[in-house]
């Protein structure tokens, strides 16, 4: 057995980088969430008084408190924003599944050459800018936009979709659809077709084989896709901000507003900490599933 010292040394640079630029900043968010807002730059208190030595640190520690969290709990606005983020993400994920599954299924049933072209066609929009894709929908959904032009042309009354929840769902489905289609397709593509033939030979009608064979076997892809959509949707900022208008409350937007508009850094940090705690369970689930898939792939 060879020693793996060289390979392990490769970990040092990324480890240090992530320690300084990912882990440590995260500790700062946690610390700040226990601080108070102040009219200063940076706009929070307390600051560590390094010149006072140990006493300065002690004074700093004693000034930290849970006040910001208490305020989060007492202010309905935050709770409403959390719940509505979770609802948007859950329904958005479900809609992505409903739209994405038939596409993935159709792709998997095509001939290999067609499949590769379709795969490229599904991935291509994902490579273009997220912001631009959301922006494209503004021109379609706004009152004098393309959707209403089309409706008018066939004699139907116009709809006002922009700045409503419906617009947020359309944007979420549009932006996250590839994340749902690709994992499901990857599982369906590998599925053994003879299983369906066996079911048919035994007299099962196609819809029944679909529910009893295809769907259960594709569940790992569905879970992966659902988590890949749900996790980022909860913290989404661009879609609700551009398509949802002022009434749409989502937590990513709340952090942004607290930070940039209200300059309340401790509240923004506390909201971020709670958001992350909400996401711990789906994130851990996702990582465990990935680890399992990796082991199975070897």
């Amino acid at each position: 057995m060879k020693t793996k010292r060289g390979e392990r040394l490769a970990a040092i640079a990324p480890f240090l980088w992530l320690g300084v630029f990912f882990l440590f900043p995260f500790a700062l968010v946690l610390k700040l969430s226990f601080s108070d807002q102040a009219l200063a730059m940076p706009p929070y208190a307390p600051q560590i008084d390094w010149s006072a030595g140990l006493a300065g640190i002690r004074a700093f520690m004693s000034a930290l408190d849970l006040e910001t969290y208490a305020r989060l709990k007492s202010d309905d606005l935050y709770l409403v924003a959390y719940l509505s983020s979770l609802r948007f993400a859950a329904i958005g994920t479900l809609l992505c599944l409903l739209v994405g599954y038939p596409i993935a299924l159709g792709m998997a049933r095509c001939a290999p050459n067609t499949r590769n072209i379709l795969l490229l066609a599904v991935i291509l929009p994902f490579w273009t800018s997220f912001l631009i894709r959301v922006y494209a929908w503004i021109a379609i959904l706004k009152p004098e936009g393309l959707l209403n032009m089309g409706l008018e042309a066939i004699g139907l009354p116009g709809l006002s979709v922009l700045n409503t929840q419906a617009a947020v769902y359309v944007g979420l489905i549009y932006c996250y659809l590839p994340f749902m289609v690709l994992p499901i397709y990857a599982v369906l593509e590998k599925q053994d077709h003879s299983l369906l033939e066996a079911a048919a030979d035994l007299g099962s009608p196609p819809w029944k084989s679909f529910w009893q064979v295809t769907v259960p076997l594709s569940l790992p892809g569905v879970t992966a896709g659902a988590l890949l959509c749900f996790i980022p949707m909860v913290g989404e900022f661009v879609v609700p901000d551009l398509l949802g208008g002022v009434q749409t409350l989502m937590i990513g937007k709340t952090i942004w507003t607290e930070f940039f508009a209200n300059r309340d850094w401790p509240s923004a940090s506390a909201v971020a900490v709670v958001l992350l705690l909400t996401l711990v369970i789906p994130i851990v689930l996702y990582q465990r599933q990935q680890a399992k898939a990796l082991e199975a792939g070897r």
Binding site: A10, F15, W17, A136, A272
Partner: protein, 275 residues
């Protein structure tokens, strides 16, 4: 017998593709509209492209974005490849779980939190926010994607080649440079491309990490879009979409061409062996 797609499958695919491409097609079409209004087709015109190129704020932002992308993608590729090598080849070392968690966590972390935490770091260290803080932020966020792509390639690649080189006395660093690296090069290149496009695309993290004088293109586009639809932004988007589409197509064609070449050389070797 393998069942082909049913009419339902074909309908689902068609509807899906229309849904995916219709908004983009409309965006591109209206970038050539002479009228400022979306609802009025005022004839074909390239006037928005002209005014785009004359718009120094947008062009300056585009240049900042490209530079940030080039530097941060390169940094992310180096760090991500190192991380992938350690994870795929390092065996079980102390802190491996912490390390792999650290590497992959930025991928699932909401962007607002990443941006916020980096901003707090820069404030705490009294670093003036600007070009380089955006570079650092993007390198941190995209490193994980490079690591995933390169790691996937490393675990499928036959490691006995590396072991043979080392048995023959090749020092580890040279083995890496002459055996491992050429073999994982396509994955490293794909990782770089992914990091680069993610950096070009990012609005949220850049908004937190950036300061005066370092406005990226997405930040500029965002502030204009909030004021409403503007044909100039349509023109800029069309150019970006064209650039990305060209890059992806070239990548796909080169990949296909390389596979064909490999097949041919294998077939040629087979013929020679038979003769």
């Amino acid at each position: 017998m393998r069942k082909g797609p049913t009419p339902f499958n074909i309908a689902a695919i068609t509807a899906g593709l229309v849904f995916l491409y219709l908004p983009i097609a409309a965006l591109v079409l209206y970038s050539f509209n002479a009228s400022r209004l979306v609802t009025v087709w005022g004839g074909f015109s390239t006037r928005w492209y002209e005014s785009l190129f004359a718009n120094e704020a947008l062009m300056g932002a585009a240049w900042v974005t490209v530079r940030v992308g080039l530097i941060s993608a390169t940094a992310a590729t180096i760090l991500g490849t190192l991380a992938a090598v350690a994870l795929a080849r390092g065996g079980r070392f102390g802190g491996r779980t912490l390390f792999s968690g650290l590497v992959y966590a930025p991928m699932v972390m909401p962007e607002v939190i990443l941006g916020l935490s980096l901003l707090l770091l820069f404030v705490a260290l009294r670093i003036d926010r600007g070009f380089w803080t955006v570079v650092i932020a993007h390198s941190t966020c995209t490193l994980a994607y490079v690591a995933v792509v390169v790691h996937a390639r490393l675990v499928t690649f036959d490691r006995s080649l590396e072991e043979a080189a080392q048995d023959l006395g090749c020092p580890p660093i040279r083995t890496f440079l002459t055996v491992t690296l050429p073999n994982i090069a396509p994955a490293v290149a794909a990782g770089w491309m992914l990091a680069f496009t993610l950096s070009l695309d990012d609005l949220v993290v850049a908004s937190f990490a950036s300061g005066p004088g370092a406005t990226t293109l997405p930040m500029r586009i965002y502030s204009q879009v909030r004021l409403g639809v503007s044909p100039e932004i349509n023109a800029a988007s069309t150019l970006l979409i064209a650039a990305v589409a060209t890059a992806v197509l070239i990548y796909a064609i080169v990949g296909k061409w390389r596979r064909v070449k490999e097949l041919r050389s294998e077939a040629g070797a087979g013929r020679r062996a038979a003769a």
